[in-house]
């Protein structure tokens, strides 16, 4: 889906701008790209479409598995290579984080249930008591599980930390570069006007 959206971006914006095709066609191409972005968002299961007139990113509520907030990135009609790199880096980081935390939290919940079940079984109790309420263990009994879970996932966390720090620095550095380029672009036309 993303490959198709990239293809449409190239066809709708880069090619017409090279060929000098008029603005009416460009506007309809922009509308087509916006429509495609909406389809991509819906197909990614985000269930939200940013309004057509919006030129900024949109951030959603926390995901129920990963607790991370998804972002729908705005694709400007004349996106430079640098801006594209930034957007792709952010998208990849988002996807990687989502995968990691969704899997990790699911494993935590599952292992916690299994632990509670095994402990209750050892004590000779059922998962639900007479009133139908779910039986729980005390915090001290759960502490064994927390310690065990943390030590089991220690290496996984170390690798994830390294990956996250690298991505975070790359994204922030790219953001800085994009901001600098935009600032220079904004200054240059003003300089030209002043010189004229």
């Amino acid at each position: 889906m993303r490959i198709i959206s990239e293809l449409v971006t190239v066809v709708c914006f880069k090619v017409p701008s090279r060929l000098g095709i008029d603005s009416r066609l460009r506007r309809s191409s922009e509308a087509a790209a916006v429509l495609l972005r909406r389809c991509v968002c819906v197909s990614q299961g985000l269930g939200f479409r940013p309004p057509a007139h919006s030129h900024s990113d949109w951030i959603g509520p926390p995901d129920k598995h990963s607790n991370l907030r998804p972002v729908i990135f705005y694709v400007p009609p004349e996106e430079s290579a640098l801006e594209r790199r930034l957007r792709e880096a952010r998208q990849e980081a988002q996807d990687s984080n989502q995968r990691f935390w969704a899997r990790h939290n699911r494993a935590f919940r599952q292992e916690k249930e299994e632990f509670i079940y095994s402990r209750l079984k050892a004590k000779g109790l059922e998962m639900r008591d007479e009133s139908g309420q779910k039986a729980t263990l005390s915090a001290e009994e759960m502490a064994d599980f927390y310690k065990d879970f943390l030590s089991k996932n220690f290496k996984k966390h170390l690798l994830y930390n390294r990956d996250w720090y690298k991505r975070n620095f790359t994204i922030t550095f790219l953001m800085g570069q994009v901001a600098l380029v935009r600032a220079l672009r904004w200054l240059r036309p003003r300089k030209k006007n002043v010189e004229q």
């Binding site: 509520p61 907030r69 502490a143 922030t172």
Partner: protein, 453 residues
């Protein structure tokens, strides 16, 4: 307080607010006290009293009743609740008496009961209604920075309350130094320390975005919610940190500047990554907390004396009962988030260290008059509060349960300001050494006036 009270919903609302009776979506009318929602063909309302406790109006079988939501036994940090309490104390929401609502409006309401989750209700800084915040949290938002939101966002990014605490410990260090008090130096040192702390806190939040998202205590931070971009957070940190350190180095003295820079480095590059690697992070964090009063002292005197180290030692020892007690209730979040904390990996050590350092506070208070920082009334006057925190530390060590950890944590919050206040009251002034007798008498009188809990 927790008993359900029957009350008819306010009549005045029907006249005050126009209810659009459309069938689609949820209409919300904002009001600082009362929040109305219409979901489909049901009308639900709930109101709350910010300064007391959250009360909810619920409807069941056409009867409207007002009740406080029962407190759930969640693992939310007591510190977080305290922050909330602080928030609640500050908000003065005057609610005028309201008359029952028009009968026809209640008849069109449905029989469903509204339940709000506690976690959705808790926010770090929100002053808007509980329900509105929950609904906003579920919505998609444009990632556009609004200038009027910026001060609030930056305050949360820099953990302004923690920064205020850090600045006050630095001021305590400055005040305890045995030199004549200079106001400009004091203000510059406080400002520089505050800026350095803002920078360090911002970088800490910049590093921890996905981890903060997964912990209840920290999930409403600005970077997690996308209210500010990481680039802006880093720029803000640079704009606070660099002027802060430069101010300390040039306007105060180079030693204080160096200590400030060291503290920023320790917090951002040592403590933050170590949190996820080893339990040694707690000791590094304690050093980070101990440095501000040392900075205050060096700002006043220009040198690193035994007095500075003693003050640093007191703050260092205090960190352990404070943090270990706090972390006891966060074990689930730490385990899931991948944080290496003593409370999870070495629970026995966690409690032993807390108790050990509570007792160390007694010892350090006794050393103060030996180093000529305070008079001998200080260890005597501070003994009750030090013994009390040691007793709570012992209870925590023995019982190892949530209630003892919470008691110890809340005690640590008032113990530190009180100890510093008593210390300042018992300060031995260098200039008045000839009037030692008078000074002792004076401080005795003042000390007697202090009411201990």
């Amino acid at each position: 307080m927790s008993a359900a009270r029957r009350c008819r919903p306010p009549r005045a609302l029907a006249g005050l607010f126009a209810l659009r009776l459309r069938n689609t979506g949820v209409q919300q009318i904002r009001c600082p006290c009362v929040h109305l929602c219409r979901v489909g063909d049901r009308l639900i309302t709930f109101q709350y009293f910010n300064f007391l406790k959250r009360m909810y109006v619920t409807q069941y079988n056409k009867d409207l009743s007002q009740q406080a939501k029962p407190k759930s036994n969640s693992t939310v940090s007591p510190f977080h609740e305290l922050q909330q309490l602080d928030q609640e104390r500050k908000v003065v929401c005057k609610i005028s008496p309201i008359s029952p609502v028009h009968q026809s409006w209640s008849e069109t309401s449905s029989r469903s009961e509204l339940r709000e989750t506690k976690s959705a209700a808790e926010t770090e800084d929100s002053l808007t209604p509980v329900g509105a915040e929950f609904k906003e949290d579920r919505q998609w938002k444009e990632m556009k920075l609004r200038l009027d939101d910026l001060p609030g966002i930056l305050a949360r990014l820099s953990k302004i309350k923690l920064t205020a605490l850090v600045v006050s410990t630095a001021s305590a260090g400055f005040a305890m130094a045995p030199v004549p008090f200079e106001l400009t130096c004091f203000l510059l040192a406080s400002l520089g320390t505050g800026l350095a702390s803002c920078a360090a806190n911002s970088i800490n939040q910049f590093f921890e975005v996905p981890f903060d998202s997964n912990m209840n205590r920290t999930k409403n931070r600005p970077l997690v919610r996308g209210q500010i971009s990481p680039l802006l957070a880093v720029c803000f940190a640079a704009c606070c940190g660099i002027p802060g350190i430069v101010l300390l180095t040039l306007a105060v003295n180079p030693l204080t500047g160096a200590l400030g820079a060291l503290n920023i480095f320790l917090y951002t590059c040592c403590y933050t990554p170590l949190k996820r690697m080893s339990i040694a992070n707690t000791w590094v964090g304690a050093v980070v907390g101990a440095i501000p009063p040392v900075m205050g002292w060096t700002a006043a005197t220009g040198s690193l004396d035994a007095g500075a180290l003693l003050l640093g030692g007191i703050l260092y020892s205090w960190q352990f009962p404070h943090f270990n007690a706090l972390s006891w209730g966060l074990r689930e979040d730490y385990s899931r988030g991948g944080y290496c904390m003593m409370s999870v990996t070495h629970p026995g050590l966690c409690r032993r260290v807390a108790l050990r350092h509570c007792l160390a506070l007694i010892g350090l208070s006794t050393v103060a008059p030996v180093l000529d920082i305070t008079t001998w009334t200080f260890p005597i006057i501070s003994l009750p509060i030090n013994l009390y925190i040691s007793y709570l530390g012992f209870r925590f060590y023995r019982d190892a349960d949530r209630s003892s950890s919470r008691k110890l944590f809340f005690c640590s919050l008032w113990h530190l300001p009180m100890l510093l206040l008593v210390m300042f009251t018992c300060k031995k002034s260098v200039l008045e050494k000839e009037d030692k007798g008078d000074l002792l008498g004076e401080s005795h009188d003042r000390a007697m006036e202090i009411r201990l809990p």
